[in-house]
Symmetry: C3
Subunit: 347 residues, 3 copies
């Protein structure tokens, strides 16, 4: 990559430059490890001690810390965003070469844009439509009738089952599986009978799906992730779930069937959301929290049980089984005191 | 697919037809979206409002709702089962063509039925036995000495490690890994030493395994899933676990080593079951529940902590650390009142 | 495998032989199933009933149980370790043949040791360095600039993203993904903007990574697993995490970004550890436990909520929302009694 001037980086990031516009940087680095020619970033107050001794040629930071910056400063209201944009500009990923690798197996009915890249050992099924500049890395399977919008990328070892549709600029990490059957079963006197899963998985534009995340096809209607949804690794999205725009979820989250999640939500790691619920826009679920009822108001919801030393836990958690009983005992005490010590109550 | 008459569907589903036996339907659809020529299904009371205005040509429902059905009715004691059977009859999946794809790498010692299908880029190891009508989708790895019973299907990107055995009609979704080493370690003064994992994974008939689910081989004896077990996505089954017939588990469940689970059980999403336990037949474990002791009686077991608004959580959950102390304080209060107010006790 | 004499096994395991040094065994087996010619192992007190009737030719056990052993005994201070060593000696895995499978796609710039094995349908990117005796099983993807140390093994269907480095004797199970992008996002007025993930994944020597486990590359610095770390299946290790030597984690554990975990720790199944924390050496986290603060002292930490019958749960867990209120009520009662019954307090 060629270096970029701070003048150019200020333009790209919307930051205000305090310093030398002609100064060139070649890469981003952390405050403590940055060398001359590198651009650092003050991510939080915690790292201020590193600011004053940094060797970086420039630092992205908020106005509050600019006076303490010993070198060129790119001052931003949103330093994290400015950093993301600068780092992207300095690290454009080289695109895979256009064309279909000779070891890929592509159905003749698939329509693949000439600018798209299909990697080694990929399999592309019948009636697929692969858009402009799409990159499909090695060892991916794209089953029949899938559509992948322009500029999307399957990194490697991704499986798209029949009929899955991706919008533009989607990014799917290795091991992800989109469109596997939902878990739909009817019970016939103890024996399970499969309910055919006939819907699809539909992703909007700019959706990111993490490694080994699974998104099941709908039972009848589709499972839908709207524009800008970001999923971390090892998330499970069950059939007929709908996730609103710009909602982000961390690893190991599980969403049960037919639940609808609003836009602008965040769900932290390993939270579980039961089926057939509705979560409003702007709901934020904490890590390891169980959501078993609809959440109709925006806000933060939590049921994380914080770790404690094991013997402290042993003393306290056995008591959970007796909690209702304790409430009754306290109520009984209150009654006794009310009945017999009415004069004793606090004024 | 050719259309089916309601007369034929009544036969296939065991439902009682109220209406025109000659009426033809071509596909299933939801009550609200169904068009003429489609068959809908009243899944729960919640959807009754859609029943009266449905455009479906026929509806599967229970006798309770039949009087409100504006069109042909297929009346069933178990509408979900009738729907599953009807949907399957209307949506027979075309089988992959028999034969071995030219890009598959198959050990010459493998026995593969002529009716079986082995997809592109598959690898089939030495001494494997692949039964009649088995379908192995693209990019699967079947290591040495595996056996796959008739009519089973590996959808795509499945990995079976050495010696794994599947019964008949098993269905394994993409990304699943069967037969990886169990997590067996001995500790040598702080350093971990691997314990060889010498058992196998054995699946009965009609077992379904979800996407990215992992089932580890046994340490010495085998890990066994009996007939009709149904596993959703991203489940972890550790070495030497045994799961009884027709037990079903939802996504993200984890079962630790050597635990034996009975038949006809259900385990909801993200529940965790510790090792070396026994769960009786007919045990039902709720979502996000921790099972740390054997459950010897059928029934529902739960430890899900329900989400609450974050500030309410903050006030209440810090108290968990003081719960045992609170029990002592209440006991002290009870003693005082008993000793000094004996006449004040409730009669 | 040729049989081994008990004399040889005593040497290999450091156990003391009580019995016939010339006795030959061919395989390990469980106490109850062992046949003559097999070596069994008394794993815990629970299995003592099987000891007295075992048909094994020899049993590994601790000195406490040696007097009750009806056959040759290999007496060890650490029977599990002795078993691991004996089982390994009796079950050396045949190595895959050296060389590159004809279907593998290998960039000409990759350096692959002549003794290494690259399996069918693998893809090896530019500038990779693959060490002596490395085994890469079928359908693996090793992206550009990866390094794999001598004697390491990717079992099958493993994906290493760009720049990942493995030490010597690492073992990576199927479906694992190392080096996918960390989940780094900046928020631009509601819309998420990707933060480029520029670090790598670095594994020391003797690291084992379970099936479908994901380890994300660092954002700027690297994600580092030190020598001897052992990870079970379906674990998520986020960007910039550091895990100390000989720490072991069970399935479904999740570690959020930038957390540093000490050496000699254990984390049981499905525990979740928040981001930016520090866990000291020798910390042990129980299953399904949430760690949301740094743990600076060694010891066992727990927040597992034990399952109970569902109706008992229903009565007790609704009370969690009222717990803080209960503490206040008890405090009020205590005050009343203190103020009005001072003579009544226990001496």
């Amino acid at each position: 990559m060629p270096p970029l001037s701070l003048e150019r980086l200020a333009e790209l990031t919307g930051a205000e430059l305090r310093g030398d516009p002609a100064c060139q940087v070649v890469q981003v680095a952390s405050l403590d490890e940055a060398q001359p020619g590198q651009l650092a970033f003050l991510a939080s107050k915690r790292f201020v001690p590193y600011l004053e001794s940094t060797r970086a040629s420039a630092v992205i930071l908020s106005a509050d810390y600019a006076p303490r910056c010993p070198t060129n400063a790119l001052v931003s209201d949103n330093p994290q965003l400015a950093y993301a944009l600068a780092a992207a500009a300095l690290n454009e990923r080289p695109r895979a070469p256009a064309g279909i690798h000779e070891t890929a197996v592509v159905d003749p009915s698939a329509e693949i844009a000439a600018s798209a890249s299909v990697g080694a050992h990929c399999v592309i099924g019948a009636d697929c439509v692969i858009g402009e500049n799409v990159e499909i890395g090695p060892n991916c399977v794209v089953d029949d009738a899938c559509e992948i919008g322009a500029d999307s990328r399957l990194v490697a070892s991704v499986t798209l089952c029949k009929g899955t549709r991706l919008g533009r600029r989607c990014l799917i990490h290795p091991g992800a599986v989109l469109g596997a059957d939902g878990f739909g079963l009817a019970n016939d006197r103890g024996r399970w009978v499969k309910i055919p899963q006939l819907g699809r998985v539909i992703l909007g534009d700019d959706v990111e799906v993490g490694a080994c995340t699974t998104i099941d096809r709908g039972a009848l209607k589709d499972t839908v992730l709207h524009d800008g949804v970001k999923l971390d690794n090892q998330i499970q999205v069950a059939h007929n779930v709908e996730i609103g725009e710009n909602t982000a979820m961390a690893a190991h989250v599980g969403i049960s069937g037919s639940t609808r999640i609003g836009s602008g939500c965040t769900v932290a790691g390993a939270a579980g959301i039961a089926g057939h619920l509705e979560l409003a826009d702007g709901v934020h679920v904490s890590g390891l929290t169980a959501v078993s009822r609809s959440l109709r108001k925006p806000g933060v919801y939590t049921s994380t049980v914080p770790a404690m030393p094991h013997d402290q836990w042993g003393r306290n958690f056995a008591r959970l089984r007796q909690l209702d009983d304790l409430f009754r005992r306290v109520r009984a005490l209150e009654k006794i005191l009310q009945e017999n010590n009415t004069d004793a109550e606090p004024k």
